[in-house]
């Protein structure tokens, strides 16, 4: 059947895209690790040694606040187990790199904060010695994550007005500042196990990364539509229906792998307990992945050009993740807000993961899993109907 091969081809292409692969596999573990480090002694020293620590030199020319936040909160304080960061001048940085005393250096430009606040791309230079390509990719990704979260927060601040400013701290530094005790308190109810903050963020970040993976897959799908291969694909024997199913399976495959990596990685690297019922966790995870992949294929069918999609998609993901509890603990919102946001699959999934963590069993999450699967199937159906309606209108 053609659709299997379409799915396999998509997985193959993604597997060969180094940047996509890094986002897919490594970033979630890394970020959850960052959080863990920030929360203090949650990891044993030996386990950390598996990710080798490396040196980063930072030249901060930024005249605004965000450069400091990135340099000090994230690089210097946020990742003590992974990165040892040091501020220096550009000259020093160049010398040390030349002498191979540093693996990676970054230079934050004068207008770094301005660019994030006013919008537009700021040009952060990441320089590395040839043997440190993985390390430089990690640094690049951390910077990218920081600028995206910061940009979202700036937008949120503008929308909320000045009085809300304090609440909307840039996401990264908020991870490092967050107060561990309150999180624990919030999740504890009678007869239930407490959900630690590390567990909370493992689930929250995991859910967010799955959203981002799907967005990456969907932009690849839209990107393909603008390429010559797409027209060729349309005139083969592959039907519209098989095309959608193929795209869906490809997405499902990649995000399921990521989901498994997140679960297994956090379990064994950081000892995160996802709950008593592993079947429940797997079922819920796959239902969540199923729902967002369905939504993703629907988006990929409706959206015409990649340019508009990528920016909007990433922004929407961050906003969904933020209101869904991946960045700010849900307890700070009133109960009714938490109920309302459950219309978002990521919020529903996160809240149900937390239930599993505090001891719920398979049967108690069946309804949520069912709803997620239904969302996925519904989206697929709408995608198919809209695609064939488009065709019919075309051929009428």
């Amino acid at each position: 059947m053609g659709f299997w091969w379409l799915a396999l081809k998509d997985a193959l292409l993604m597997g060969r895209d180094r940047k996509a692969l890094l986002t897919l596999v490594f970033m979630p573990i890394l970020l959850i690790g960052i959080l863990g480090a920030a929360f203090g002694n949650m990891m044993g020293e030996e386990e950390v040694a598996s990710i080798e620590k490396f040196q980063v030199g930072i030249v901060n020319l930024d005249e605004g606040e965000l450069g400091n936040a990135l340099a000090e909160e994230v690089f210097m304080k946020g990742l003590p187990e992974l990165i040892s960061a040091e501020a220096m001048t550009q000259k020093e940085l160049e010398d040390r790199l030349k002498q191979q005393k540093l693996s990676v250096g970054i230079i934050l430009p004068r207008d770094f904060s301005d660019h994030i606040i006013m919008g537009g791309e700021s040009e952060v230079k990441v320089i590395s010695i040839p043997s440190a390509s993985i390390q430089s990719s990690i640094v690049e990704n951390v910077v990218l994550q920081f600028t995206q979260s910061a940009a979202v927060n700036v937008i949120a601040m503008e929308a909320a007005g000045p009085s809300e400013m304090i609440k909307a701290i840039p996401a990264m530094s908020q991870f490092t500042d967050a107060d561990i005790n309150i999180v624990e308190e919030a999740a504890v109810e009678r007869d239930q196990k407490p959900v630690g903050s590390f567990q909370y963020y493992a689930a929250g970040m995991g859910v967010m990364f799955l959203l981002m993976t799907v967005i990456t897959g969907v932009s690849a799908m839209i990107d393909e539509k603008e390429q010559d291969v797409y027209n060729r694909l349309l005139v083969t024997k592959l039907t519209d229906f098989h095309y959608l199913i193929g795209k869906f399976i490809g997405l499902l495959f990649m995000s399921s792998i990521q989901f498994l990596i997140i679960i297994i990685g956090t379990r064994y690297l950081y000892d995160v307990r996802w709950g008593e019922s592993m079947t429940g966790v797997i079922l819920l995870g796959f239902s969540f992945v199923f729902s967002v992949c369905g939504l993703g294929v629907l988006l990929g069918t409706l959206v015409k050009t990649e340019k508009t999609f990528n920016a909007a998609g990433m922004l929407a993901t961050q906003i969904m993740a933020a209101v869904g509890g991946s960045m700010v603990p849900l307890y700070i919102f009133p109960d009714w807000v938490n109920t309302v946001v459950k219309v978002l699959p990521n919020a529903l999934a996160l809240q149900t993961f937390l239930e599993l963590m505090s001891g719920a069993n398979l049967w108690q999450v069946l309804i949520e899993a069912g709803i997620l699967v239904a969302i996925g199937l519904g989206s697929l159906l709408i995608a198919f109907v809209s695609l064939s309606a488009k065709r019919r209108a075309y051929y009428a």
Binding site: K9, L12, D228, V229, K237
Partner: protein, 313 residues
Amino acid sequence: MGVLEVKQLTKRFKDFEAVKKVSFSVQKGESFGLLGPNGAGKTTTIQMITGLFPPSSGSIEIAGIDMVRQPKRGQGLLGIVPQEIALYQTMSARENLSFWGRMYGLSGDHLQKRINDVLEIIGLADRAKEKVETFSGGMKRRVNIGAAILHNPELLIMDEPTVGIDPQSRSHILETVKKLNGEGMTVIYTSHYMEEVEYLCEKIGIMDQGEFIASGTISQLRETIGDRSRIVMNFSGAVELERIKSILTSEISEKDLLMNHNELAIFHKEPQKILSELIQSVTGAGFEIASVEIVEPNLESVFLHLTGRSLRD
């Protein structure tokens, strides 16, 4: 019955008519050429035939299947070489062939055998494992063709398959197509290179500005210019071709005198006989001739005679 029957095919993009009432048919085993300058409407015609989008009006039948109503039924019978290189650049030649073969329903040993055969045909057996993005333009074009012939299509449709490549790859491609056609595959070949179509095709449709302006075998098309040769004169310095034309109208009828850019084309059955006379009249009037060439009757002449423009314009 023909493998392909196209009737009154028309395509409007908003208020622009890209293809206007085109009709033709292609018989089994034939090679049909679609010749026309850039923008003539060749690709649009091909895309409608392959069912990529429907015509605004008109009908297309492939082996009796209505391509407007049921494109998916007919598409399995077609091998399509798009004008652009439609391949996955980060996959190898073999992986691309394997993927496209599967999109036409091939699988298993048969697919592997076909991939090996096709790699031989396109002369890339020794580079099969390399990524397409590392290939030269000519090699990419060959893979682009390979992906269309894996399933031994009933009808092979090629849209300008030799654009922008080196002469060696070009002649390799032309020979490959000639061979496939010789082995019985029906071929539709579009090009704006007259030589390619003359070399490959028994029947030719000449397209210009969305219309078929002539069609038939090469000899039939030559007949439309009375099988006459063409004298092409170039002049040194800026000259008023209108004046030269008026000098010559005493000897040649006006409709056989054509100007294109700085060239003057004169259609005549026996060019040798009148050549010296013509040169005398022109130089006698004070014009300096830079070059004179006699071109045997060809499709370029047909196009020029019909449109007053050359194919490459």
